[in-house]
């Protein structure tokens, strides 16, 4: 099935949860990512239960600091 991840059409296996998608997309530090699903920020506690559907729009949003380091 097709998802739009950060604006890019991506083909993924059906039935993945948000957590599984984060793993599959090689998101290195999932704790540093906030996820928006179809225009709504998804609670972190729901990453495990939320199963992605065809045509879902997913945004991975990353924490970023300011200077040389994201501290």
């Amino acid at each position: 099935m097709n998802l739009v991840i950060n604006g890019k059409e991506t083909n993924i296996t059906a039935g993945l949860t948000v957590n599984q998608l984060l793993a599959q997309e090689n998101v290195q530090m999932p704790d540093m990512v906030s996820v928006e699903l179809n225009g709504q920020i998804l609670k972190r506690t729901k990453f495990d239960q939320t199963i992605l559907k065809d045509d879902d729009k997913v945004e991975f949003l990353y924490f970023m600091g300011g200077g040389s380091v994201s501290n």
Binding site: S34, I41, E59, F63, G65, S68, V69, S70, N71
Partner: protein, 271 residues
């Protein structure tokens, strides 16, 4: 207040813009912008706002200029190494434009001092390098109802969003709390292309000027992300989060509180 001959000449490229004009320039000269952090993001923002004739510019920082800063913090020069950043920044801004007043705050913002500092300003630029400060600025600006520009940069990426507190998506709508300690890359793992700070800090200054002059469409409800390697900007629409712990329907945060610093302690970390 009316513009002097010299000011009409100095700001002629602003004044000639239909959307700015003499009135707009006078407005800028009466405006007050606070820059928190005289580092990578604060450097270009400070220089451009000074050049633009923003009449009062506040700058907050507690650090001294370090050699590792010079790769991106263009407001500081080699001869400034060891000098207080606020002093170094003030000197450059005043050198560019003696018209303006620079207010310096040799401190780190915390829950106790931030409200008194930001209250005097029309707009705040978050140029800080750490998450506790970013959350604190978001929260304090919410309680004081002061619009601000949030930004971050990392490696080849940058992002920013403008927040009109209580009206548009805030930082906590997107990230409810700072990331856990073990999730944050350590000092040695991360880096940043210096010019990223220039790109993103300049965009923050643009938002400040647009807000002050009521021009165009602000970057609210939208996170602008920049990927320097792909040379790609994306505007990501972000609605307000009804579960936001700060500006949502049932707020959990009702007063200012310092967030824990979650990564390497700042003393050993030149940011």
């Amino acid at each position: 207040m009316s513009l002097t001959e010299k000011q009409i000449e100095r700001y002629s490229r602003h004044i000639i813009l239909e959307q700015v004009g003499g009135k707009g320039q006078e407005k800028l000269l009466r405006s007050k912008v606070l820059i928190i952090g005289a580092g990578g993001l604060g450097a270009p923002a400070g220089l451009y706002l000074a050049a633009a004739g923003v009449g009062t510019i506040g700058i907050v920082d507690c650090d001294k200029v370090d050699l590792t800063n010079l790769q991106r913090q263009i407001i500081h020069h080699t001869s400034d190494v060891g000098v207080e950043k606020i002093k170094s920044a003030e000197n450059k801004m005043r050198a560019i434009n003696p018209d303006i007043t620079v207010q310096t705050y040799q401190t780190r913002v915390d829950a106790k001092n931030i409200s008194d500092i930001i209250r005097k300003y029309d707009f705040v630029i978050d140029g800080t390098d750490n998450f506790p400060a970013k959350f604190l600025i978001n929260d304090a600006c919410y309680f004081e109802k002061i619009p601000f520009s949030h930004a971050g940069i990392l490696r080849f990426h940058g992002q920013l969003i403008t927040v009109l507190p209580g009206e548009t998506t805030c930082y906590r709508c997107i990230f409810s709390a700072p990331p856990p300690a073990n999730a944050v890359p350590s000092c040695s793992q991360a880096g940043v292309l210096g010019v990223l700070a220039g790109v993103i800090g300049s965009l923050q200054a643009t938002e400040a000027i647009k807000y002050l002059l009521g021009l165009g469409k602000l970057l609210t409800g939208t996170l602008l992300t920049y990927d320097a390697l792909e040379m790609n900007f994306r505007a990501v629409k972000l609605n307000r989060n009804p579960n936001c712990p700060l500006c949502g329907g049932k707020p959990k945060i009702t007063e200012l509180k310092d967030e824990e610093q979650v990564v390497c302690d700042l003393k050993n970390c030149k940011c």
